[in-house]
C-alpha cells in the first residue's frame, strides 16, 4: 500500500483540482500549527505546502541565501505555477524566517494574499485570549473565502475526523515500536505525506486498511546486530532519506518527532465545550513544536521517549538555518550526555550527499555495536 500513498502525494495537484471541481476551495497551509479542522469545517481542502526539491533560481532573487531551504522552495513552487490550485493561504507565524517571508510571498508568489496568524509563545490567559481572537480572524477569512458558515456543529464533526486521524497515526507509531516492528519509519513518511494533501476522511479509510494489513502480518524478526534509533528531523523528505539509509543497513528508526507525525497527533482535541476554544487551547498547549514550545519541556519529552523506547542512539538532522532547532540543540545535546545516550548530528550538507550520509551513519552504528 505504500506505493499508493506515494502516488497520492505525487498527484497532489490532480487531487486538488479534482476537489475543486467537486467540492470547492483549496486552502494552503505552511505548517502544522494551523488549525486545519477549521478549514475542513468550512468545506475546503487543507493542503500543506512542503519542500519538494524545486529549482529555486528565481526565488533566490528575492530571498537571502541564509533563509531556510523550505521557504525558498515553497516560493519557487508558487512562482512556477505549481500551486495554482490554491485559493487561500494561511501562514502561521512560527519562526523568524516566516516573519519577513510573509511579505515577500505576498508580493511575489502571484497567489491570493495570505492570512497571517500569530501563534503566541506562551499559553497563559492573555496569550490564549489573543490566540482565540486570531482563530476568529481565521474563521472570518475562511467563511468569506468559501461562502460557508463554520458552525459549531460542523467544527465538532471536523474535529472528530481529525481526532480519528490522530488516533490512527498513534497506532502506526505503535506498530513501529521494536516489540512490533511491523512498519518502517520510511514507510510512515509516505503515509504522512499523503495525509497532508488529501481529504482526511479518505486518509482515515486508507490508514485503517493499511493498519489492518500490517497488524495481520507476523512480527518481524530483527537481526541480532540491528540497532534502534530515534530521529529528530523537521523535514519529511530529508527524514525519509535518512530513515531509508538506516534501514538499508538493517537498523531501524523506531520513532521520531516529525512535525506532522506523532508530535501533531499525540493527543486528541477535547470534544466537550466550545469547539473553537478547544481548538485554540489544543494548538497552543498540546503540540510540542520547537517554534513555540518551551525547550526544556520539549527536550525532557524527547529524552523520556528515547529512554522508554530503549533506543541505541539519537540522530539529530535539522534543516539549515532553522532557528528553533538551532537553540534546542545545545539543550538536547546536554540531556543526551547526562543520560548516556549516544548522539549523532547530521548536517544539512550530508543529507544531499548519499556517500557522506552513509559513512556518517555507518560509523555511528559501528561505534555503538
Amino acid at each position: 500500500m505504500i506505493s499508493e500513498f506515494k502516488k497520492i502525494y505525487e498527484q497532489r495537484a490532480d487531487i486538488a483540482n479534482e476537489w475543486k471541481k467537486q467540492n470547492g476551495k483549496v486552502v494552503g497551509c505552511f505548517n502544522a500549527m494551523t488549525p486545519q479542522e477549521m478549514i475542513h469545517a468550512a468545506g475546503a481542502l487543507p493542503v500543506l505546502i512542503q519542500d519538494v526539491g524545486m529549482d529555486i533560481t528565481e526565488a533566490r532573487r528575492y530571498l537571502p541565501e541564509f533563509l531556510c531551504p523550505t521557504l525558498k522552495d515553497c516560493l519557487a513552487q508558487a512562482m512556477d505555477g505549481k500551486l495554482s490550485y490554491i485559493d487561500g493561504i494561511i501562514m502561521s507565524h512560527l519562526c523568524e524566517g516566516m516573519r519577513g517571508f510573509y511579505g515577500v510571498w505576498e508580493k511575489n508568489a502571484g497567489l491570493s494574499d495570505p492570512l497571517l496568524i500569530q501563534v503566541p509563545a506562551t499559553s497563559e490567559e492573555s496569550a490564549l485570549t489573543f490566540y482565540i481572537e486570531e482563530c476568529r480572524k481565521l474563521k472570518r477569512y475562511l467563511e468569506e473565502l468559501t461562502g460557508n458558515q463554520i458552525t459549531d456543529e460542523a467544527l465538532k464533526k471536523s474535529i472528530a475526523i481529525y481526532n480519528e486521524n490522530r488516533a490512527l497515526i498513534n497506532k502506526l507509531y505503535e506498530l513501529r515500536k521494536p516489540s512490533q516492528n511491523r512498519i518502517k519509519g520510511s514507510e510512515i513518511v509516505s503515509v504522512l505525506n499523503a495525509g497532508l494533501i488529501m481529504p482526511k476522511e479518505k486518509h482515515n479509510e486508507m490508514l485503517k486498511k493499511f493498519i489492518a494489513e500490517k497488524t495481520a502480518e507476523p512480527v518481524q524478526e530483527t537481526a541480532e546486530d540491528s540497532l534502534t534509533f530515534y530521529l529528530i528531523s523537521n523535514e519529511l523528505f530529508e527524514a525519509e532519506t535518512i530513515m531509508s539509509t538506516i534501514e538499508a543497513l538493517g537498523s531501524t528508526v523506531v520513532s521520531d518527532n516529525l512535525a506532522y507525525g506523532l508530535r501533531y497527533s499525540m493527543e486528541p482535541v477535547a470534544m466537550n465545550g466550545d469547539p473553537m476554544l478547544s481548538l485554540a487551547d489544543h494548538y497552543l498547549n498540546k503540540i510540542p513544536c520547537p517554534g513555540k514550545f518551551r525547550s526544556d519541556v520539549l527536550v525532557n519529552k524527547l529524552t523520556d521517549s528515547i529512554k522508554e523506547l530503549k533506543c541505541n542512539g539519537a540522530i539529530w538532522s535539522v534543516e539549515k538555518y532553522c532557528d528553533p532547532y538551532i537553540f534546542e540543540f545545545p539543550i538536547f545535546q546536554q540531556s543526551m550526555k547526562e543520560n548516556g545516550i549516544p548522539l549523532l548530528k547530521i548536517e544539512a550538507e550530508d543529507v544531499s550527499n548519499s556517500g557522506r550520509l552513509k559513512t556518517k551513519i555507518e560509523a555511528f552504528a559501528e561505534m555503538l555495536s
Partner: protein
Amino acid sequence: MKGRDYFKELRKEFRTAYNKELADTSSNRKPIAHITGFMPSEVFVAMDIIPFYPETYATMACAFRAADELCLAAEEAGISRDACAFSTVALGSMHTGKGPYGGVPKPDLLLSSAYTCGIHVPWWEVMEDFYKVPHFIMDGPVLAGAPTKQDIAFFVAETKKMISFLEEQTGKKLDMDRLKKCVELSGTASEYFADLIELRKNRPNPISTRQIVGDMYHITSLPGTEETTQFYKELYEDTLERVEKGLGVGYEEKFRLIWDNIPIWHDLDLIDYFEKQGMIFVYETYFTAYWAKKFMTDDIFESLALKYLTSWTNTRLPHKIKIMRDVVRDFQIDGVAVFENKGCRAYSTGQLDVAATLNDEFGTPYLAMTGNMADPGGHDAEGVRHKVDAFKELLESHAAAKTNA
C-alpha cells in the same frame, strides 16, 4: 557647540558607571536582569533592577575584537554559527567567562520577549539551562499591520504580568508614579532622538552614522533616566547648531545613502570607507524604527506598547516600502546600501523587495552586500570594499546621466 568629544566623554562616564553597577558584589547591590531589546526597560529602571542586554554586550565584544573567539566558543558548546550572531557572541561569553568587562555578568533574573524577535525566547532558554535562574517570557503580538486594539491589549496584559513577576522576585512593589516619570522621560529622550534624525534631512548631513552608533548606547541601555534624556537633549541642540553653521560630517557629501539593516559591528570602518569617498549615510532603518520615535499617549502602558511593538522587524513589507518612499524623497537619497545580514534573518528577508521597489519607482540604485552583524568569521572585508568602489562608480554614472538629461 559642545562637539563630538564632549559626547564621547559622557558616553564613557555612562558606560563606566553602568558596568561598575553590574560588577557590584556588595550585599545591597541591585539585582541584574538579562533582558532582550524591545522589552519595556523603563519598568526595570523604575524598580531599581539593572537591565542587561546580551545583544548590546555582543556589539561591545565586536568593538573589543573579541567576537570571533566568543562565536567559536559558542560553536563548541553546540550553538551553530548560523544562529543570530548576537546570541553566539553572548553565549560564547557565558560559556567561557571571556569577553570585555570580565564577560557577561551572572543574572539574577532572565526575561525574554517573543514579539519583535522569535530568537530571544529559545536563546534565553539556553541561558536558563546554564544559569538556572527564573526565566519570564513576555509574550506579545507579531504585527500584521499597524498595531490593533487587540495587539495593544495583549502587550499591556503581558507588561503587567511581567511587573507581577518582578514584584514577586524582588519582593518590592512597583511605584506607579515612578514608572510614569520614567516613561515620560523615555518618551522625551526618544523624541529628541527622532528630532535629531530629522535634522539629517539637511545638506550637509550634520551628524554621522558612526557617531549615532555610539550615541545610541544611553537609549538602548537605560531609557527613562534623567541622564539619558539630558544626553539626547544636548545632542539634539548640538546637532541643530551644526545645521545652522552648515557643518557636515567631515567628508565631502557627494551622495546621500540609506543603510538598511543592523550595522556591521565588527567592521564599522566600512562606514568610513563609504564616507571617505563622498558617500554619506543620512538614514538608517535601524535607529528610526526602534528608538528614535514619538510614541507618547495619555496612557503609559499604551505608550510603551507603541514604542516596543512597532519596531522595524515587526513591520510588514508594504509599510516598510511606504516609509522608505518618504525617506528617499525627504532625505534626498541617492542610493541604498542593503546589508544582507546573515546574523539576522528577520531583518534581512524582504530587504531586496524594498530596494528593488525604490529602484523601480525612483531609479535609486542599491548595493547588496552580505555579511554578519556580529560574527567576523569569514568576513570578506576586502570583497565588500571592492563592491563599494563599484557602487561609487555606479552612483557617478547615474549622476552623469541625470546631468546629461
